[in-house]
Amino acid sequence: MEPLRHPFNQRAIIAALLIGFTNGYASAFVVLRKSALKVGSLSHALLPGIAVAILVAGLNDWSAFLGSLFAALLIGLGSLAVSRGSRIDQDSALAILYTAAFSGGIILLRRLGVTQEMDEWLFGNIMGLRDSDLWTNFWISFGALGLLTALHRPLLMTLFDAEVAATLGVPVRALNYLLLAVLIVVLISSLQAVGCMLALGLLVTPAATVYLLTDSTNAMFWGGSLLGGLASAFAVLVGWWLNIEQGPAIVLVLGACFLAAFLFSPKYGLLGRSRNKAR
């Protein structure tokens, strides 16, 4: 436990717990909504946002945050406009817009001479967190979790059957936009830990793993949070022990958990299921 003495490392562990917990909770919405691809596209849209923000306002905490938020919203709404205004479907539109923006972002970042930072935005650098970053993460987690739990009832009804929810007076459209906005903010909060290339893993895998183990919606939300937080913190330790980068380690540990559930879940696992059949 030697590494835990250093403040850098303590911050990394706390950040992993916090970011993993929030992403784990939010991942239940992504999985139940079957919108992993869409969220993946938006996570890539964060990078060009950062690039443009640096170009316009220079590199600081707020420029990266606001730039990435703005870019995700712009590309999300842009894909909606393209799909409504032409015969191209929204997924295709999203793919076109985010790959183009991403390419532009990479070129721009190289020109701006921030190659070192670019690596961090792509794959994360949880060891580089400062106290102020921790606080930002804390408030994002606090706000996102508060909002999502407060709106749990109408959100769950919308996820299960949006049409029926609407006939019961749930403002479905507004809730969908709100949910997407919260997911984007949660994505941004995980940028420093895992980067925009890997953020999707943290925002899908935890609840997807629990989904294979349980039939309870609540277990999916809180189990996803616990798994997300604990697996991320454990992965940071693994990173030190094996001397590998923490960002990829987090997503890899989560992937391993998923694989285990996929194979060995008593009810829904590949091997668990065949064992039940054989009995």
Binding site: R153, V164, T167, L168, V170
Partner: protein, 256 residues
């Protein structure tokens, strides 16, 4: 016609009336429905009959408030139906529902109390009583804690009915409730729909099986983008009018 006996209908001297007047619905630039009118009231079972793409689902959704109207109006108990009404329940086609969603029978039925309980309020004893009564009436008590993925088609349909009963809906709009059910479940569902109507509620369902129409329904709307005819089963469910509804050339631009 049956006299209303349902507690929420009983205190009214008149039947609760559902009136659709010259309904006009457009999807993009196509007329999905036009010139659809009907007038019916609580205590009846109404069948919507017509070929695929005739607009049966569209009409149900329009009454449920899910689709904006291009013209005409829908009146429930004399007032225009707003975006939604607690008294009108919509039961989607079973195939449009994600049955792998991790949720139990009871939790689905509880959703019916959302209009009363709101976003945060804990459920009152009235809410709980309505929920267990609905579950009991639909004979789901033993299945209350089952996952919805583990139910048969007939049981799934009863879960939706229980949710509508928990909601204390007066009007139940069912989209193809009999599709995909086996023979026994069909007979059981038919009896249940009759009971729900006899209780003083209004049942409106899109229906495909011509052999069972007379056993289940009191009134029929023949639909083919516009209303061909509306009236009692004896008046409307005739060979001549059915030929007019289904026969002839293919409809242009069929939509779901």
């Amino acid at each position: 016609m049956t006299v209303a006996t349902h507690e929420s209908c009983a205190h009214c001297a008149h039947h609760h009336e559902l009136v659709v007047e010259n309904l006009h619905v457009r999807y993009r630039h196509i007329d999905a429905l036009h010139d659809v009118s009907l007038a019916t009231s609580c205590g009846a079972c109404v069948a919507l009959i017509g070929p695929n793409g005739a607009g049966k689902s569209t009409l149900l959704k329009a009454i449920a408030g899910l689709i904006p109207l291009a013209g005409g109006r829908i009146l429930w108990r004399g007032t225009k139906v707003a975006k939604w009404s607690r008294e009108i329940a919509y039961l989607p086609q079973r195939e449009n529902v994600d049955w792998q969603f991790p949720i139990t029978v009871e939790r689905v039925v509880r959703m019916g109390r959302y209009p009363q309980a709101g976003w945060w309020k804990p459920f009152s004893t009235t809410d709980e009583a309505a929920i267990s009564r609905a579950i009991g009436l639909m004979e789901l008590t033993d299945l209350a804690h089952r996952q919805i993925s583990e139910l048969s088609g007939g049981q799934q349909q009863r879960v939706f009915l229980a949710r509508a009963l928990a909601q204390e809906a007066h009007v139940l709009l069912l989209d193809e409730p009999f599709t995909g059910l086996d023979r026994n479940s069909k007979a059981a569902l038919a009896a249940t729909l009759r009971e729900i109507a006899a209780e003083g509620r209004l049942v409106v369902a899109s229906h495909h099986d011509m052999d069972t129409v007379r056993d289940i329904y009191d009134e029929v709307l023949l639909l083919r983008r516009s209303a061909i005819a509306f009236g009692s089963v004896d008046e409307v469910f005739t060979t001549e009018l059915l030929d007019q509804t289904f026969g002839g050339k293919e409809m242009p631009c069929p939509i779901g």
